[in-house]
């Protein structure tokens, strides 16, 4: 406090003010040092030695100490230090080994005071005693440290570190007689200035050279060291053995380290190469710098806090020939930009989520588990570097596992595994796949398969059981086509009262569907439905509509309307309510929502329920009886496939593509098909469905796909008889002219899965070998080998 007041006086009663500013130097700086009045800074380098006044808005050059006609090597400074007690006293370390002191109070232009030429090599560091006016310490590349008394012509004492070059020397701020020195071999030594014979303490601090050290301004025992190993370490020297209390890992070798005034845990560092930034670290959060100054374009060589009691001004000099004053509040804060969360969607729909604990801190009384380090004190997101530390940041990692059946991807795996894609008549494939889809609760897809079956197969082949099955479920799902089936079946009995009533109900539900289908038809192709009140026209439109429903309506029916249809099925009386409700206005309103449809058209459609029901019947008949050519639908089927693909269900697109084969393939361009195939195969492989993926590759007609199976797999096979490598790719061995892949059990040629023992190369059908091995562990071929199968 005493010092502080003095500073205030020195500054004429004003507090330190300033802004982030810089000035250009004539040459690269090697070191800077601040006068104790915090109003001047000295910059020293190989060819620069100047004093600048730090004004509010700018640096002003005050004095050039580099005088004389021919520059002497004595002026090539590696380091400079301004005495903290005497404003007129400076010392520099020259690259030629000379230590020079400067007295600004000298009247002449040349302020050079004393010259100590005792070191044999470059002097890396000079340091004044913090409280003693005349004591100067130097550390040199030659491995010696010397203590000078400025009142005498030569050194008072010489300290031999006995371990390579000295990189830094620093008087302890609190212990009058102690100084620390750092060495290129990674050692740090502690000396008593009265005992030059040997060091008090020595320890290895870093791996590689220790470039710098700094005593903590308040904490008596703390020494920070920085080395080429990119680390800053804080040592507690008060204990018997030097103890590492903090370790900060920076991204480049540490050239300078300076504790930040008034902030117990902060220190500033700059690097010797690669990295041009100045960082301020909180040693308690050793991984992320608290602040970062990015102004310099070349290596920063000197850093100094402007005033020993002011934490906000940092001065830095650089090889880029600039001198900067950084304002702490202008610093960029990497913590701010650091992403506090990680999120990833898993394959089956599970989510991994890592978040900063403060963000997810529990308000609810969830029981913390043992070792839970969640404390509500982490709430503050912005970590103000000037403030006391809020605590170590840590993240909570959670995996949200999706429960089976609720949006997990198990449906995909099941579908992929159970679909039949080939090997049976189309009708059976479609029926099978429809059944699979239905069992997995995917009614829309099931519906599509049924439709495909109807479109491409003759109706006589429809197994009645299956139809009934689909009717039972289908109508409960309220899917349009099923209702039409219902109607078709009931058509003969339309005359009877009860049936009529029933069909009316169905007709009702159909009306809704129909009009929406009409809507969407209009969306699709306007010409078709124009004047749709004419029944004949409508018939045609409706045929389209059935398919349109497939890819336009189904999603909504399957989901939004579905539950509502479940209810009417059980409660017939309610239907009358529906019938009574005038559909008109709502319809109009809702049609107005969709821009493509004119209200009148839709209205017309909905106002002719009976007509449409009959038309439906006729449609069904038309479908079944009048044998529209399947080509008629192919455009629609293609659209449907595209719809599925755009919806993200490439499985459906590819499966249908394979099942229908030639029927639709020509209508979809090769590139799109290939795209679907690759996407689906990739997806199958993600789920490790290798067999399915192989089958898909095999069944694909696209050349680019089918060659996938032939690439980058080489099998080296030996003939099971002559034991020679099979050179040709056929079944028969070139040499012994016998078929190579005979089953050792049944003596037939194996097609399909062939297992063999790698020891004797005998093998056969998987089932046969498995069966054989249950009884015997010897080779079934009788070669006597104890076969091993993995």
């Amino acid at each position: 406090m005493e010092k502080m007041s003095r500073v205030t006086t020195a500054l004429g009663g004003s507090v330190l003010t300033g802004r982030t500013m810089h000035c250009h130097l004539d040459a690269p700086a090697n070191a800077i040092s601040v006068c104790r009045d915090a109003a001047q800074v000295v910059v020293a380098g190989r060819s620069i030695f100047k004093i600048y006044a730090i004004e509010e808005e700018q640096f002003v050059e005050k004095l050039n100490l580099r005088v004389g006609r021919k520059p002497s090597l004595n002026l090539s400074c590696a380091d400079v230090v301004w005495h903290q007690m005497d404003e007129n006293l400076l010392a520099t370390a020259a690259t030629n080994g000379v230590v020079v002191t400067w007295n600004l109070g000298r009247p002449s232009r040349n302020k050079q005071d004393q010259l100590f030429t005792e070191h044999k090599r470059t002097v890396n560091k000079v340091c004044f005693h913090p409280t003693e006016a005349h004591v100067l310490l130097s550390g040199s590349q030659d491995g010696f440290m010397k203590c000078f008394d400025l009142r005498r012509k030569d050194s008072v004492s010489t300290f031999s570190g006995q371990s390579e070059s000295v990189r830094d020397v620093q008087f302890s701020i609190r212990d009058y007689f102690t100084f620390a020195s750092t060495f290129e071999n990674g050692n740090v030594q502690l000396w008593d200035i009265r005992r030059p014979d040997r060091c008090e303490r020595m320890f290895t601090a870093h791996n590689g050279p220790v470039f710098c050290c700094d005593w903590h301004p308040e904490d008596r025992g703390w020494l920070a060291t920085g080395g080429r190993d990119k680390m800053v370490k804080v040592w507690d020297m008060a204990t018997h053995r030097a103890k590492e209390v903090h370790c900060v890992q920076t991204i480049a070798s540490v050239a300078r380290v300076k504790w930040r005034p008034e902030c117990r845990h902060h220190l500033a560092t700059c690097s010797m190469m690669v990295d041009h930034n100045v960082y301020v670290w909180d040693v308690r959060r050793p991984f992320v710098p608290a602040a970062m100054f990015e102004e310099h374009r070349d290596v920063t060589t000197g850093i100094a806090w402007r005033h020993p009691h002011d934490p906000s001004f940092l001065l830095s000099g650089s090889k880029d020939s600039t001198l900067y004053q950084h304002l702490f509040r202008d610093a960029s804060q990497p913590v701010e930009r650091a992403n506090p969360e990680g999120l990833c969607y898993g394959l089956f729909g599970d989510l991994a989520f890592a978040a900063k604990e403060s963000l997810v801190a529990t308000e609810s009384g969830r029981k913390p588990y043992a070792g839970d380090r969640r404390h509500p004190i982490f709430f503050k997101r912005k970590l103000d570097p000037a403030e006391p530390f809020a605590g170590l940041a840590s993240s909570a990692l959670n995996v949200f596992e999706i429960e089976p059946g609720s949006g997990s991807m198990s449906w995909f795996v099941d579908t992929a595994e159970r679909y039949a894609l080939a090997g049976r008549p189309l009708a059976e494939l479609c029926d099978h796949n429809a059944k699979v889809a239905r069992e997995l609760g995917r009614n829309q897809v099931a519906q599509t398969w049924t439709m495909l079956r109807i479109i491409y197969c003759s109706p006589g082949l429809v197994p009645t059981t299956n139809l009934n099955h689909s009717m039972g479920k289908g109508s409960s799902c309220g899917l349009p086509l099923m209702n039409s089936f219902n109607l078709k079946d009931m058509a003969p009995g339309l005359g009877s009262e009860t049936r009529l009533d029933r069909s009316k109900g169905d007709t009702r539900s159909d009306t809704v569907l129909l009009d929406s289908s009409a809507t969407l038809i209009t969306n699709e192709d306007n010409e078709e439905t124009e004047g749709s009140d004419v029944p004949t026209d409508y018939l045609l439109g409706d045929v389209e509509g059935e398919d349109d429903e497939l890819y336009l309506l189904d999603p909504e029916h399957a989901h939004s309307e579905e539950p509502e249809y479940v209810l009417p099925q059980e409660a017939f009386p309610l239907r009358h309510e529906i019938v009574d409700t005038p559909p008109g206005p709502e319809h109009l309103q809702d049609k107005a929502d969709s821009p493509h449809v004119s209200g009148s058209e839709a209205d017309a459609a909905s106002l002719v329920p009976v007509d449409s029901s009959f038309s439906l019947i006729s449609v069904s008949h038309a479908l079944c009886d009048s044998r529209l050519p399947p080509d008629f639908f192919s455009a629609l089927v293609c659209d449907m496939l595209r719809f599925y693909a755009e919806q993200g269900d490439v499985q459906m697109a590819v499966s249908v593509l394979i099942v229908l084969g030639e029927r639709v393939r020509k209508d979809i361009d090769e590139q799109t098909q290939e795209h679907w195939y690759t996407s689906y195969i990739d997806l199958l492989q993600r789920f490790c469905l290798w067999n399915v993926s192989n089958q898909v590759v095999k069944l694909s007609t696209s050349r680019a796909i089918s060659c996938l199976n032939q690439a980058s797999t080489t099998l080296h096979v030996n003939c099971s008889h002559c034991k020679r490598p099979m050179s040709s790719r056929g079944w028969v061995c070139d040499r012994c002219r016998r078929c190579a892949s005979m089953c050792a059990v049944c003596h037939h040629v194996v097609k399909g899965l062939f297992v063999w023992c790698q020891g004797c190369s005998h093998g056969g059908h998987l089932q046969h070998i498995m069966k054989w091995l249950e009884g015997s562990s010897h080779c079934p071929a009788g070669c006597g080998h104890l076969c091993e199968y993995s």
Partner: protein, 383 residues
Amino acid sequence: MFVARSIAADHKDLIHDVSFDFHGRRMATCSSDQSVKVWDKSESGEWHCTASWKTHSGSVWRVTWAHPEFGQVLASCSFDRTAAVWEEIVGESNDKLRGQSHWVKRTTLVDSRTSVTDVKFAPKHMGLMLATCSADGIVRIYEAPDVMNLSQWSLQHEISCKLSCSCISWNPSSSRAHAPMIAVGSDDSSPNAMAKVQIFEYNENTRKYAKAETLLTVTDPVHDIAFAPNLGRSFHILAIATKDVRIFTLKPVRKELTSSGGPTKFEIHIVAQFDNHNSQVWRVSWNITGTVLASSGDDGCVRLWKANYMDNWKCTGILKGNGSPVNGSSQQGNSNPSVGSNIPSLQNSLNGSSAGRNGKRAPFPLPQRRLTSPKIHQQPAYY
């Protein structure tokens, strides 16, 4: 319905990224503590840390898996201005490291002069390629010409974005019709209202990446960007995490219509924009089919977004980061099993015209109501 499984990650600083591998059975996390951890899922579904090692000398921002065809390979990027490629070595376990796998550094990519903020492997069909982006606004694309040699990577492209980059995303489409494409987001926070998302496309003729599009409407810092898995779609879906969640669709305009040789023109639509996080959104991630988007924000919640058939995106769930339930969060909490997850979900389709059309059915309870039932989030917590 989700069950939260808390994992004691034991990272010593913030975790910045989590990443599942291709098959979803391994997970990698990276943290400011300069380490990467690899987690393997056991038979019982628990996650075990099988490797943890120091990867960088600065915060590790991102970690990402390569396609397993190239081996068990990870890439990481860091504040220390490097990106690194790691490979797992098998068969060298000794007693001391039982149950721990061994990862070796195959390469360090040192071209950046500033923090490398994102790293992503290109889609497999492009070969073994890697893109990085850095705070100095340069996207770099590397290729390993020999996929068996992970230590040789050549810098193929350097794309200057003029803005500090924060995230990149490859377009995953495997279609030949879609040229390789990469979207870059910037978290530049300077007040100038520049567009923060740029999309670059590879041009076969010039063999260079050229800017195809700029999303002019995105002017706030972007923290994450993600193309949805393409799965045979003819268009692309792009999610952006900025001060809100945004979803764009990019429909390529047919090539014949545009002048050949130039970059593909896109019809760009913003299909959704949600500020429900009420704060910065940090991450977006798509499910495997590109139908559900998960986003996480400063509110500590994960929100799930899904489109109905009308392309109407709606929130379908909220997950609190600590696993505690959020009121109103509903994970398809309906009992109806017929709702497949690939198709628009029940509650979504209740808006828009379909709801209107069914308006006359109001006497029936809307299925929506069921969603507020209390049984939605039971939280068995496993530790």
